[in-house]
Symmetry: C2
Subunit: 369 residues, 2 copies
């Protein structure tokens, strides 16, 4: 999938190998990326948007595999809160992913797909690759780095590890470290994938069929529940039945919520690589910004100078609850960083940052300026 | 597994076929059960304990497969809150389960294991079987029916469908209906089992190997997370590493929480049948006590007379949060049923009813009398 598509994607090959947190080095790194709006002559109006676990560079363009609108069309575009009439928006597919950037489905040095010989990467490694991209594009300092969920982790990591490279950091529905519960849900997903015999130890690219679709689908289903609030699920589905008047007394998808989850699982397998899911969830589980900086989160931000931060959480987000954002804000306060923090009320749980939430539009528009 | 063990278990065959909610009839129903303490001459001191999804009749006796202590030893026994010096405690393995009672692993009328030809059962069907057992034991009215989680559903169903058969109902950490989120988590587990090629459409009993162990293990892992609180997981595991000083930059169980979950998943497969897991989760998802009684939960309890109720929830239980218990209590209030209600504070989430919670001991001891 990724290979056939790759030649149609905008991409750049990094000029130097990428030194990874694991100690390994990744050579011939390709980053697929999209831009929106014009870069000004001073190269001062660039905004880097970092995508979430299963996101991609198609922020505000039709997705080439699904044909669906970009994942943040409501936020990014001409006249939108992140206004592409004024800003040059860049979004790169993270390394480890599967929409054109180097990942486990890419060809390794031996001319075969990496599979599980791909090195384990971290959130910081993803950010390093994006900074290398900015270097090659000649963009010294960003107007802002913006991200939700795993994108927010990258935004925080960018600020901490590349101080001076951005004026603003906007971290939405995110955390400075993965909790035990976060790791637990990801581990369920990984075990579901690895339990699928079609996974074949990650070496399924040349095999018949489409890889461990069933395992990947179960992984997506489990994760999807964590993206929604209990109240949101109740509002959307409750105990309503799917296309029937009575329970079937069988194992079909009697309930709408079952049908919805099965669809979400299945649809995901048509656009995402199972090994990428393993590698990216691992990177998220490894993420602990404090640990990276000697154990004290405040130390991660000590060199940030007058970079301005905005931290946003949602009251119904139980994946990265407000307490995690508050943790980040306390650390920023401890180093007297300029930070504004808001917990927004929205019914959709973690996914609120992707959905209709006018208050978020206003916060982002105001902060990006 | 179940078959080899069955001959060693205390069991009774019901005298009549069991008419099920599905409209089907289950013939030759065996109920495996254990008792604790003596039944008095008037048969007036019996307490029925209903077990949870993966529980069994070994409330306060060593489990015959795992060799572990009974699942509620802390609550049931001589001098314990449910005092077997005074009460005759009965606990039966629910139909659909796999510790001696008739379930999908049992032999069907054709001399082969039922597998997926076992009829879909409901919580009320489970209760019907237990009432039939009480009838055969000559026990007209119980001192109390007691249960946590799915056991609590049975206790509520018992009260609603067999009014006059118990003086007291104690429903702990439970709900009168499964929410969309509850159904969603169960559906993930079912899909994980059914995705395992060793499931073979449920017809794995005669096959080599131990059935869909990998799928069942993933199902258990996902469910297990819902039994614990986020804070409990953080306290117990946090981000601590398992038997290593540094992250491995691989896919081993680096984190203690990963190792713990893998162990829980694997251990579960040695004592539980995958098809039973499908059937029992389905029964729980179908549970909606209001729907069964014309749509109004209060109507379920209208015939309960002076049966006394005690409803207990835990503040950290996000599987069946306090709001679900409150829903039950409001319905009981609406029919002026005698009910006491308490939300206990305990750090362990849903599993609190099984763990060290002295306040629960006091509530149960006081209510059972």
């Amino acid at each position: 999938m990724a290979t056939a598509l790759a030649s149609h994607l905008n991409a750049i090959t990094l000029g130097a190998p990428l030194a990874l947190d694991s100690g390994k080095v990744l050579a011939d790194v390709t980053l697929a990326y999209e831009t929106y709006g014009e870069l000004d002559a001073e190269k001062s109006n660039a905004i880097l948007i970092c995508h979430a676990l299963t996101g991609d560079q198609f922020v505000a363009k039709t997705h080439p595999l699904t044909g669906k609108p970009g994942w943040w069309e409501r936020m990014v575009g001409p006249g939108k809160p992140i206004d592409t009439d004024r800003f040059h928006v860049i979004c790169a597919n993270v390394i480890g992913s599967c929409l054109g950037s180097t990942g486990p489905a890419s060809m390794g040095p031996d001319g075969k797909p990496y599979g599980m010989s791909f090195p384990v990467i971290t959130i910081r490694d993803m950010v390093r690759a994006q900074v290398a991209l900015l270097d090659q594009l000649g963009i010294g300092s960003l107007h802002a780095v913006v991200g939700g969920s795993m994108g927010g982790m990258q935004a925080l990591s960018f600020a901490a590890n590349f101080p001076g490279r951005t004026d603003r950091v906007l971290a939405i529905a995110t955390t400075a470290r993965h909790s035990a519960q976060n790791i637990a849900f990801h581990e369920v997903g990984r075990q579901a994938i690895m339990a699928d015999p079609d996974w074949k130890g990650g070496d399924y690219y040349a095999a018949e069929g489409n890889g461990p679709e069933k395992g990947l689908s179960v992984a997506r289903m489990a994760a999807h529940i964590t993206y929604l609030s209990e109240a949101g699920l109740t509002d959307k589905f409750g105990r309503r039945l799917q296309d029937r008047e009575e329970k079937s007394f069988g194992f079909d998808a009697d309930f709408q919520v079952e049908s919805y989850l099965r669809y979400q699982g299945l649809a995901f397998t048509t656009r995402f690589d199972a090994n990428s899911y393993l590698y990216i969830t691992r990177a998220m589980d490894y993420f602990d910004l404090a640990e990276e900086h000697g154990g004290l989160l405040a130390d991660a931000f000590r060199a940030c100078g007058d970079t301005r931060f905005c931290v946003v959480s949602f009251d119904t987000d139980w994946l990265y609850p407000t307490a995690e954002s508050r943790n980040v804000v306390h650390a920023l306060n401890a180093v007297a960083a300029p930070v504004s923090f808001v917990e927004l009320s929205a019914p959709y749980g973690h996914d609120s940052f992707l959905l209709e939430c006018p208050a978020l539009d206003r916060v982002i528009k105001g902060f990006v300026g």
